[in-house]
Amino acid sequence: MKTFWMSPAGQLSVGLVLVAAVFVAFALNDDAANGAVGAALVLGFLLLVYFGRRRSDTLDIMSGIGDERSKLLYTRAVAFSGTVMSFVLPIWWLVTIAKGDPTRCSRSAARSSAPPSSSPWPCSRGAAKRARSRVRWLRSGLREHENDCHDGECDTAGGEQTHGAELQRYVRASPQRGLQLALA
């Protein structure tokens, strides 16, 4: 039985929800400009499949809806993609472990050369060194910011405020990176 969700209109509806989700995810991170670009890319792909499936057999198969032959080829393609990903993901994971992921280096790990015991992800020496130098740079910016305070009043309009903002961005980088990886 052909349901609405397995029809071109249903696929278009789900795709538009995905477009909105992409934009909202970026907008929540105060990055609406990039969200618009990402949503436009997804929308373009969606419209290409929706209108092109009548003209192109390949796009018809990519849509995953159609007659029995299209569904069979789509299933084969998905199985092939899954097989490829089952090789790519472990290899990518092993390469990341070997290189060390700088986003996994916490600031406490950056202070000491020993890897964090709580995190299963190793922190490579290079990544830890980079993280330590970044923490030093941020601390120096904070000290400069503290020096702006005179007689109980602080100059918040100074150029050093960007260091404070940069620190906030640095602190927020880890969950933001997680969201980006999840969306990827």
């Binding site: 057999d57 018809d60 159609g66 007659d67 029995e68 032959r69 299209s70």
Partner: protein
């Protein structure tokens, strides 16, 4: 006992052209795409049983008269 590779030939193109039908018209009558009819006729795709019975019903014949198993026997 022999090992054999089973290939299936069909007379869909013959039956279709005898009725002066286009691939698109036959595809519309059976609810599949024109590419699927073309793939069946050229032997690149073996239809499912429901579609095979649909073809037989459309041409008012039996599945066995449209699809012919062709076994190439390899002596062991």
């Amino acid at each position: 006992m022999c090992k054999g590779s089973l290939t299936v030939r069909n007379d869909v193109r013959l039956l279709r052209t005898a009725r002066d039908l286009s691939q698109g018209a036959l595809a519309d009558a059976l609810g599949v795409s024109r590419q699927t009819i073309n793939a069946i006729e050229t032997g690149r795709y073996l239809p499912s049983l429901p579609l095979a019975f649909g073809l037989a019903r459309f041409f008012e014949t039996t599945v066995e008269q449209i699809f012919h198993p062709d076994t190439e026997e390899i002596p062991t």
